[in-house]
């Protein structure tokens, strides 16, 4: 898993490439925790280049979404397609997280 950080105005965009499984999920968890503790933080997680995500990854995303809610931060996922979308659907997560179709839509959605 590679994490690449971009910014667009006051929005932080974290792009994930590769896989989120039990080996890589802890690294993502630490990164999201660090990002979402600041109130008013606006974070977009771009999953366009994500290969797959296992339940260990969903656990990290759930915790991040809860933390965002508690901290008053905004946390939106985008570009959930193909196999990754199938896994979100199987796990019942498509309606649980805020998900935008593209990075541009997500940047608008976090405001």
């Amino acid at each position: 898993m590679d994490l690449r950080e971009d910014t667009s105005g006051d929005v932080t965009i974290l792009e994930i490439k590769g896989r989120i499984d039990s080996t890589t999920a802890p690294v993502l968890g630490e990164r999201l925790t660090a990002s979402l503790t600041t109130p008013q933080r606006r974070l977009v997680l771009d999953l366009r280049q994500l290969e797959y995500i296992s339940s260990a990854g969903f656990r990290v995303l759930l915790l991040a979404a809860r933390r965002a809610e508690e901290a008053g931060a905004r946390f939106v996922l985008c570009s959930v397609t193909g196999k990754v979308r199938h896994l979100f659907d199987l796990g019942g997560f498509l309606d649980l997280f805020l998900i935008s179709g593209s990075r541009e839509e997500a940047i608008t959605a976090v405001h």
């Binding site: 896989r19 499984d21 080996t23 809860r66 796990g91």
Partner: protein, 124 residues
């Protein structure tokens, strides 16, 4: 039939090696990317469950993983010496809970059951 077999210890650090073995097999036999992803997710779920729940001591245990490829079928066999537990008998998880109440308990086996064509459990 092409068969690849490996043994790992019940340590999280060893799981990445299993992923690499699946990727090597997939590369050699030009397997469909989605199918390979399904196998890697299923293996991550099964092995994570074994690491988390199968052992009552802190000793090193061996887990054997065998991947068999035959025409259109990939068979994955995982064998451990942990306490008996039939994951196929697990109740499906509640997928309707809100963000606050949602847990991922049971989600791993839910993925395995839905991503694989057939899942069986056996004791010697």
């Amino acid at each position: 039939m092409r068969t690849v077999e490996t043994t790992i210890a019940n340590r999280r650090d060893d799981l990445a090696r299993v992923t690499r073995i699946v990727e090597d097999l997939a590369g050699t036999h030009h397997l469909a990317r989605d199918v390979v992803a399904d196998v890697k997710v299923a293996l991550d779920e099964v092995l994570t469950n074994i690491l988390a729940y199968a052992y009552e001591d802190d000793e090193i245990h061996e887990i054997r993983i065998r991947l068999s490829l035959d025409q259109e079928v990939i068979e994955v066999e995982v064998e451990d010496d942990g306490r008996p537990f039939d994951p196929t008998a697990l109740a499906p998880p509640d997928l309707s809970a809100s963000l606050r109440d949602r847990s991922v308990g049971g989600l791993g086996m839910h993925f395995v059951r839905n991503l694989m064509s057939e899942v069986t459990y056996a004791r010697p």
